[in-house]
């Protein structure tokens, strides 16, 4: 509710964050918001949620902006950090920075998302230690679906996180591109 007196108006902060999801999974804003509210209610209860009204301003599937109360920044960070899965897909949310206005937060922490979306070319990797299909490559990062599912046992993930350096077989000039792989 908007106060008539400007001095009584709540001071807001805008927190930019980045979402890292397993594989090439796209997370919907509604699913993300449901998870944020569930964690907030679980950690701080209803009165805590009332004191820090979190609102999702923008989210493009990878980066987003969240509004919160200026005295509850640490709580908001904790809520984002405590999210580990959305709709049974492993995710990680990392806070990029905090600003007082949407414009400043967008300019500082949310650069235009140039399309470096993950490639999925179905190549196979056959090494002594691991074998499987490449699910996604993005820069140096490679997500591999292992043939032996017990390789990811204990960490709740579907895919193995590797880099192109791991798969390059000790090649000195591996640069994370197709040559490295």
């Amino acid at each position: 509710m908007r106060s008539r007196l400007p001095v009584l108006r709540t001071r807001r902060r805008y927190m930019a964050f980045e979402l890292e999801a397993e594989g090439a999974r796209t997370i919907q804003p509604k699913d993300l918001m449901d998870e944020i509210f569930a964690i907030q209610f679980s950690l701080f209860g209803e009165s805590g949620a009332a004191a820090n009204r979190i609102k999702l301003i923008t989210f493009n599937g990878r980066r987003g902006l969240l509004r919160c109360h200026h005295q509850h920044l640490s709580d908001t960070r904790a809520v984002l950090a405590a999210i580990c899965s959305i709709r049974e897909w492993r995710v990680a949310l990392h806070t990029k920075g905090v600003s007082g206005t949407i414009k400043a937060a967008t300019e500082k922490y949310l650069p235009p998302l140039h399309e470096i979306s993950g490639e999925s070319d179905g190549r196979r990797i056959e090494l002594v230690e691991i074998s499987g299909c490449i699910i996604r490559t993005q820069g140096l990062e490679v997500d591999l679906c292992p043939d032996d599912r017990s390789k990811t046992k204990g960490s709740d993930t579907r895919y193995l996180g590797l880099t192109s350096f791991d798969l390059s077989g000790g090649h000195e000039h591996a640069d994370g591109t197709a040559d490295g792989l």
Binding site: R77, L80, A81, A82, H94, S155, L162, T163, F165
Partner: protein
């Protein structure tokens, strides 16, 4: 800011050491310490050297069936690795780990039925063993179990403050998706009862311990320069 994180890499985790290093570098860590139970089986440790701007330290987690075996394994592993971690499950193992000055980090199970004891705290203080708080249950537990865990960690923290123990906080990440930024971990640590400065110091501690262990000590307080 010289923050370090202790983690498990493939084959004991779900991401290779180089992927962990890449993710940790992006999050702002100065280094990571791999604490696999079998560090000689680590997948492609040489690949980490190609990830510039982050230090990857090869540590180990000591596992044993009883205190006698634990002590012998610790003395065997100490000269080979700059960081030794013990994840103790029962009171006997906790006492054995606390009474050994070669142990760097004891990860205490934050269980409400098995809190940190006074004798254990005193031994840890005397032998300069750091007490570790694994914050991953904040992510994986829910409801009553999480509230019990938070209560136990706050209780342990009170005793640790009373005996001025060295504290370390870690997420014990086994995948790159388990890693969190230092400030996010500090926010989670505040939930578990840490003061902000205390949490910051606890994140820096592993790096300081590794730095100390790399120096050539002839005996307590005597260093070969």
């Amino acid at each position: 800011m010289s923050f370090y994180e202790c983690l498990k890499a493939f084959p004991e985790g779900a991401a290779s050491a180089s992927r962990m290093a890449l993710a940790a570098k992006r999050l702002g860590y100065q280094g990571i310490i791999t604490c696999n139970q079998e560090p000689h089986k680590l997948f492609r440790p040489d690949a980490c050297e190609k990830i510039g701007g982050i230090e990857v330290i090869l540590g180990t987690e000591v596992v044993a069936s009883n205190p006698k075996v634990l002590r012998s394994r610790i003395s065997a592993l100490r000269p080979r690795y700059p960081f030794l971690m013990v994840r103790a499950g029962n009171e006997e193992m906790i006492r054995a780990a606390c009474e050994d000055p070669n142990v760097d980090l004891l990860l205490h199970p934050c269980d409400i039925h098995r809190p940190l004891g006074i004798a254990t705290a005193r031994a840890a203080r005397q032998n300069q063993v750091a007490i570790g708080f694994d914050l991953s249950p904040v992510l994986y537990l829910y409801g009553q179990k999480r509230s019990r865990w938070l209560e136990a960690s706050r209780r342990n923290l009170l005793l640790a403050r009373k005996f001025e123990l060295l504290l370390i906080i870690t997420m014990c990440a086994s995948s790159h998706l388990d890693l969190r930024g230092p400030r996010d971990i500090m926010a989670l640590a505040e939930l578990a009862g840490f003061e902000p400065e205390e949490a910051k110091e606890a994140l820096r501690r592993p790096g300081a311990l590794v730095e100390q262990n790399r120096r050539n000590w002839l005996g307590p307080g005597v260093e070969l320069l």
